[in-house]
């Protein structure tokens, strides 16, 4: 690997890391603001103008809290849990293509940290590992509420990953590739997957809500039953990592939804631009779509009540999986018909 390429990738990684963390930090602020608007309140407005320094104040507070490990806890796993949650949440961002290639200093720079040809599998894999952070943290706390929460989280993940995977397969079937770059390029202009696969989009969206443990599927951490669930025993920045990881995965999920179904960095009329202008407009388009989804996630959270656990299981196994399977079958038949299999 050439030195220039190494530097390019390093810069890209650092930028992505910083941007993801920054957006996650401001997602916490934005969440509180959105909640306030929906409830006819003002929200945080004391730290800085309009309260924009609130995330810094929150983070600073968490750092200065006492960092303790409960006596009965499994010490190393207790420390490992939030680390895994944060690590996996951040890793998924690495394969998402943020825009077309940017030309800087005579170099063609791909705005994607790693263009692996199994991109979407990579994301699914890391999303699945993400539940280990919750499971290990919940188990190591040696608290019955945390354990309940860990059990709930894992069974919820397993139930919803199936339907989610089938929806991804539908998209992959239409593109013929697992690489995210190819999936996005196939949706050139306004040729977005959501117009061909609305059912897959709805199912995928519901599953994404469940995978990120957001309301109405926030059973692992439901305050009214489990006192906060897997992070009951956590304090200081360890708890901050869990809360933060949730917002990172909220951001990444929104990015994945816009990549798979809403054309990623594609936007109508993109053929009129080229080169760096196109790349920058692509970034803008990508982030606009992502933020719209972040907002919709929050909108749903502050509207819908939480599911009961049996309802959650019924919805996952009895509704979403059959719907996505039928959708898969129909898509397969249509593709086969178009390829001339029935002639």
């Amino acid at each position: 690997m050439e030195t220039s390429e190494l530097i390019e990738k390093l810069v890209l990684i650092v930028v992505l890391f910083a941007v993801t963390l920054g957006i996650a930090a401001y997602a916490t602020y934005f969440e509180r603001k959105v909640a306030a608007w929906f409830q006819d309140r003002i929200g945080p407005d004391r730290a800085g103008p309009f309260g924009i320094l609130q995330p810094l104040a929150d983070g600073g507070k968490l750092f200065f809290k006492e960092d303790f490990v409960p006596e009965a806890a499994e010490k190393w796993l207790f420390i490992l849990g939030p680390g895994i949650a944060m690590f996996t949440a951040l890793m998924t961002g690495s394969v998402i293509p943020w825009s077309t290639n940017l030309t800087l200093f005579g170099q063609d720079i791909a705005l994607q940290v790693a263009d692996v040809n199994i991109g979407i599998l990579f994301i699914m894999g890391f999303l699945s590992i993400g539940v280990y952070g919750i499971m290990i943290g919940g188990w190591a706390s040696n608290n019955k509420y945390s354990l309940f929460s860990a059990v709930r989280a894992s069974s919820q993940m397993i139930s919803y990953e199936l339907a989610m995977g089938i929806c991804v397969i539908v998209v992959v079937m239409m593109t013929g590739s697992l690489g995210l770059r190819e999936i996005v390029d196939a949706q050139h202009g306004m040729n977005w997957n959501v117009f061909y696969q609305p059912v897959a989009f709805v199912v995928f969206f519901i599953c994404a809500l469940a995978e990120t443990n957001r309301a109405p599927f926030d059973l692992p951490e439901c305050e009214s039953e489990l006192i906060g669930g897997y992070h009951t025993e956590y304090g200081s920045m360890k708890m901050g990592f869990y809360l933060f990881a949730e917002y990172v995965s909220l951001f990444i999920s929104s990015a994945v939804i816009s990549t798979l179904f809403f054309g990623g960095y594609n936007f109508p009329g993109m053929d009129n631009f080229e080169g760096n202008t196109l790349a920058i407009l692509g970034v803008v388009a990508m982030f606009t779509k992502t933020f719209i989804f972040v907002f919709i996630f929050m909108w749903i959270r502050w509207t819908l009540p939480r599911f009961r656990f049996d309802q959650l299981m019924h919805l996952g196994w009895k509704s979403l999986i059959p719907i996505s399977l039928i959708n898969l079958l129909i898509t397969g038949l249509v593709i086969a018909f178009n390829e001339g299999w029935f002639k």
């Binding site: 306030a36 608007w37 409830q39 006819d40 309140r41 003002i42 909108w299 749903i300 819908l304």
Partner: protein
Amino acid sequence: MNTMQSLTDRKKVVSKKEMTFMEKLYLPAIIGGMWITFKHLFRKNNTVKYPEETREFAPVYRGQHVLKRDEEGRENCTACGLCAVACPAEAITMVAAERVKGEENLYREEKYAEKYEINMLRCIFCGLCEEACPKEAIFLTDRIVPSNFERDEFVYGKDRLVEQLNDRIDITKRQHTGKRSKI
């Protein structure tokens, strides 16, 4: 069969009918709910930014007491003790004294309260002292008794209860609550 008249018009008969297909989909109901919350985005908020803005108290608000002076600046209180008798929390104590020559500009009548104390921790702010007072001497105002770390700081003596000559406390709101027609 005894049919009781319903007290409100919000009575609802519980029905256990099967959900229709559209209802089972849940999506129409979810979108309806999201529309309701969306409308709240554009609603004006009701927040009062407290330390900067304060909400005006209702005229019937009962806060910290004041011992009034008359127009010439003489204390109204004659230490009759009716407020202390009326007080259900037994928060009021007083010591009476006789007015001597030369104090006519300080006290309105021949007898006055040498010491007058209200224990604000005992007081339940019911306003019965105000109703019992025949001399229009004690009133509850819209001021809030501030919090404190020391218990004995809550026993308010005459230094904190009697209004200052140059800083009269307005009690007209209390006079117009319907209980009193004239002063």
